[in-house]
């Protein structure tokens, strides 16, 4: 997989976020949403490349999928890895913990954007990608380096597995 210097990517992402803030008259929430949306679109496309490059290692369940993202996905694309932890009882919820992320190099969040989830695009990517493998998930940040936490913690929550048929109430 071809690599490039992170800077170009990092700066482009940063500039994108800034532009979105301008487009949305500084409305941080709107930007969070839009980042997620863009991420989702990316995720949908990106998953193929991932599966192709990652020697087609299919993951059977959510647990595996999470591991796959943490260990291979992030490594392959962003060159970082995350650890998976904080599983809930029925293995439908977990945290990806990253202590570093090229997207936030150089970034310092001004006070007025303290509610901005700068890397929200990543959430969207996971959402999109997993949906492509029949897992509807929610994804959001619990901890964020930019907001003074020591690491990134993204919460992944499995909503449903769309492949299997499921009985709706009534």
């Amino acid at each position: 997989m071809e690599k490039i210097n992170a800077e170009l990517f990092t700066l482009t992402y940063g500039s994108t976020v800034r532009q979105l803030l301008i487009d949305n008259e500084e409305n941080v929430d709107a930007v969070n949403v839009q980042l997620d949306k863009m991420g989702y679109n990316i995720g949908i496309r990106l998953v193929d490349e991932f599966l192709a490059k990652s020697s087609g290692a299919r993951c059977r369940d959510f647990k595996e999928a999470a591991e796959m993202i943490a260990k291979h996905g992030l490594k392959m694309f962003l060159g970082v890895t995350a650890s998976v932890s904080n599983w809930n009882a029925d293995n439908t919820e977990c945290s990806l913990i990253m202590d570093d992320n090229p997207m936030v190099d150089f970034v310092e969040l001004p006070e007025q954007y303290s509610n901005l989830s700068y890397c929200n695009m990543l959430c969207g990517v996971f959402r999109g990608a997993l949906e492509m493998v029949n897992m509807r998930v929610e994804c959001w940040y619990v901890r964020d380096l930019l907001r003074g936490d020591d690491v990134f913690e993204m919460r992944l929550k499995l909503l449903e597995v769309t492949a299997e048929s499921y009985n709706d109430e009534d």
Binding site: L8, R18, L78, P102
Partner: protein, 171 residues
């Protein structure tokens, strides 16, 4: 400076494609004022900022440019290869050095572009993807003190789908 780390090139490509398309969608949504000027401006200014930042970054400890020509040369060589992994193929200029044409026969960012079928004219579709690079170049040049307009053209030649040229018009 942070350790010079690497990411997959596709990260950039995906982001970049999504950027263009999301602005396309935005235009589509608000069709009434959908001349797309606004979103083109937005795309360009994204590129512009990145261009400025990279200009600073790529010229650290480099001898100061004596004139515009040196600047343009830098763009064609170092700057281009940093970003597009290759140098500009041809550089043309007019006598007064107020106009430069940078031609790239295999513009990297058009490689993986699979164009939607319903696109009637290839060029116009591709054009959208060249706004960002234009901003990039313009940003870099401006931070070297060269105020200019940058426009891009795609070759009509179907055999060279990724050939395009950037026209730098110095104010």
């Amino acid at each position: 400076m942070a350790p010079r780390r690497e990411v997959a090139e596709s990260c950039l490509e995906f982001l970049y494609i999504e950027l263009v398309q999301s602005y396309e969608r935005k235009d589509a949504e608000c069709a009434e004022k959908g001349d797309g000027r606004a979103s083109r401006a937005a795309l360009e200014s994204i590129g512009f900022q990145v261009g400025q930042q990279l200009a600073e970054r790529y010229t650290i400890d480099r001898a100061r440019f004596a004139d515009h020509l040196e600047v343009i040369k830098f763009i064609c060589k170092e700057f281009w290869s940093e970003i597009f992994r290759k140098q500009v193929d041809h550089l043309k200029t007019n006598r007064h050095r107020a106009l430069f044409v940078l031609q790239d026969d295999r513009f990297r960012w058009l490689r993986h572009l699979s164009l939607p079928a319903e696109q009637t004219s290839n060029t116009e579709a591709v054009a959208k993807y060249l706004v960002f690079p234009c901003g990039l170049i313009k940003g870099a040049l401006s931070s070297f003190g060269v105020n200019c307009e940058v426009t891009a053209e795609i070759s009509e030649d179907a055999r060279k789908p990724t050939q395009c040229s950037f026209e730098v018009r110095i104010k």
